[in-house]
């Protein structure tokens, strides 16, 4: 019983919850989205800043302001660690891998090389009510990134 709970609340998750990475809203950014979990009221405002690198478009920054439970807060923190500095296509792949882990009902063994601290969320997949918490910021990021990519190449919000 408490092992199930410990599976959910891995130390890594609680660490990210207490000391979230990359938190706060920053400029510049090309797109900003606001996502809510209507069931519990958790909210995230998330900004994406893309930049052109030698290998194509890169996720230059992801900044966010969020209120919510430990799972949703830690998940946002881990997301930023994983995607900032990555080419957008690779970041989208990581997103897909995390999504599959969350929707895998606890049957998927996560790849630490891809998901790093994100593997700590494997236990969340066994709690259907909490999967939405873990995915809140990831869905917001995907939405914001898609918007940033379709934005006409003008000046970013600074």
């Amino acid at each position: 019983m408490s092992t199930e709970l410990d599976n959910l609340y891995q130390e890594i998750i609680l660490d990210h919850y207490k000391n979230p990475h990359h938190k706060g809203l920053r400029v510049p950014f090309e797109s900003e989205v606001h996502h809510v979990n209507p069931t519990c009221g958790d909210e995230v405002t998330l900004r994406v800043h893309l930049a052109q690198g030698p290998q194509g478009t890169v996720v230059e920054d992801v900044s966010y302001d969020a209120v919510g439970c430990s799972i949703s807060q830690a998940s946002a923190s881990v997301l930023t660690d994983l995607v900032i500095g990555k080419p957008v296509d690779e970041a989208m792949q990581i997103h897909q891998t995390f999504l599959e882990l969350m929707q895998g009902k606890g049957q998927i063994t996560p790849d630490e090389d891809v998901l790093e601290d994100g593997i700590a969320f494997a236990g969340v997949a066994k709690f259907p009510a909490r999967v939405k918490c873990a995915l809140l910021s990831w869905m917001a990021w995907k939405d914001a990134t898609a918007q940033a990519r379709t934005e006409p190449q003008g000046d970013p919000h600074v």
């Binding site: 019983m1 408490s2 199930e4 709970l5 609340y9 519990c40 958790d42 439970c69 918490c133």
Partner: protein
């Protein structure tokens, strides 16, 4: 402990689910009755018996089963009328739930530009959104009573809010989040003084207080079956008979008509006017058994039990460091739902740790986002007791909350 139901052990045996254990062999500590109540064996048996022995459509089947089914359905209407002390059985309309009953009213009460509807900041979303939609359709204005810092209705500006243009004053009897018991008879009288219709949401009141529509002297009152030990899928709209018969139909269909031609139709009187289509028959029969069950125990003793448990819970909760109770802290002024915050732990995480110890509570905004916003919080944890709740279950909650603080290394 003073006020507890004398036969609490016997009452608990009426609810088979209370015997079950959860993962890890944990006994169930069910403190989510404001969300939905558990069902006594008599309700389960009555519904099973109806399905096994009397099932037929009602008012349409010219055979013995049809007659039995119709009789059981209409008997449920009589039981609900008695439960509310309604002057006439024709005033009891069966709906899907309280939300549908409120939407029925918001859809059928005529509003126009210049009219206003007055609600309160502590309403459940069903008593907010339905009136927002109605006011948007009609070009009417939506107004609301604010709340005081201790979670009561702020009636200071009542004379400005309710005026000669007010058509409806809709308010909850007992708040599902703050637990506050509102002065419903006073509000109904204020509405009437300006010729406005009063609508009482008794979803949280009907389970735990004696409800007497004649004493409240309101125009309409709604509640839902599943919070009064009945099944889901059945709710009740009570309204003054003359008013119900003045309202236009809500849904068109079978059973709500007098006659139909291809050109036009005429409509039945209440209650059938508002019961288009095959209704939730077995659910109504189950609700009838549920209100009979509550009536047998007595709403006064149930209310006393709730107050005793609530007082005990308020005391226990407030002994936990960093815990803040939202709403009135005097048990005599409130219902059995207690929402609270625990410093540094999110309600979702609290509920998860409590669940691992078998303690079932609700976490979130409880369909009352404006009331949460009023107190500057996004969500809360809510425990809610009922006639089967024991002091030992409150002890288990308090102990599990101490454990939650330790688990998240708070303090």
């Amino acid at each position: 402990m003073e006020g507890l139901l004398p036969d609490l052990d016997v009452i608990r045996k009426d609810f088979p689910i209370l015997e079950r254990t959860l993962a890890g062999g944990q006994p169930l500590v069910y403190l989510d009755s404001a969300n939905t109540s558990q069902k006594p064996q008599i309700v389960i048996d009555t519904m099973v018996d109806h399905l096994e022995r009397h099932n037929a459509n009602i008012a349409r089947a010219m055979h013995q089963l049809g007659a039995e089914s119709t009789e059981a359905y209409e008997a449920a209407r009589d039981k609900v009328a008695a439960f509310l002390n309604a002057p006439s059985r024709n005033e009891i309309v069966f709906t899907k739930n309280a939300t549908e009953a409120l939407n029925l009213l918001a859809r059928t009460i005529e509003l126009g530009p210049g009219d206003n509807v007055v609600i309160t900041e502590m309403e459940h979303h069903s008593n907010i959104v339905s009136w927002q939609l109605a006011c948007e359709r009609a070009g009417a204005e939506l107004r609301w009573f604010g709340l005081t810092d201790d979670g009561r209705l702020d009636l200071g500006n009542a004379d400005q809010l309710i005026d000669e243009h007010t058509k409806v004053v809709a308010f909850t009897w007992v708040s599902n989040m703050l637990g506050t018991i509102n002065p419903v008879a006073d509000l109904a009288a204020r509405a009437r003084a300006f010729g406005a219709l009063s609508v009482v949401d008794a979803s949280q009141a009907a389970p735990q207080l004696p409800v007497d529509v004649q004493a409240v002297d309101c125009d309409f009152l709604v509640f839902t079956g599943h919070k009064v030990c009945g099944p889901t899928g059945i709710g009740v709209l009570w309204g003054r008979e003359a008013l119900l018969n003045e309202l236009p139909p809500f849904h068109g269909g079978g059973e709500m008509i007098e006659t139909v031609t291809m050109a036009r139709s005429t409509y039945a009187k209440a209650p059938h006017r508002f019961e288009a289509g095959t209704p939730p028959i077995v659910e109504a029969v189950g609700l009838g058994a549920a209100v009979d069950y509550l009536g047998h125990i007595g709403l006064e003793p149930i209310h006393a039990h709730e107050q005793a448990i609530t007082a005990y819970a308020l005391e226990g909760l407030q002994s936990i460091p960093g815990l803040t109770v939202m709403g009135p802290v005097d048990a005599t002024q409130r219902g059995g739902a207690i929402s609270f915050e625990l410093a540094e732990v999110h309600p979702h995480d609290i509920a998860q740790v409590l669940d691992s110890r078998g303690v079932a509570v609700r976490a979130g905004h409880h369909c009352a986002k404006p009331a949460h916003a009023r107190f500057g919080v996004q969500s809360s944890t809510r425990m809610s007791s009922y006639l089967y709740t024991t002091p030992a279950e409150i002890d288990a909650l308090v102990e599990a909350l101490h454990h939650t603080r330790a688990y998240f290394k708070v303090g």
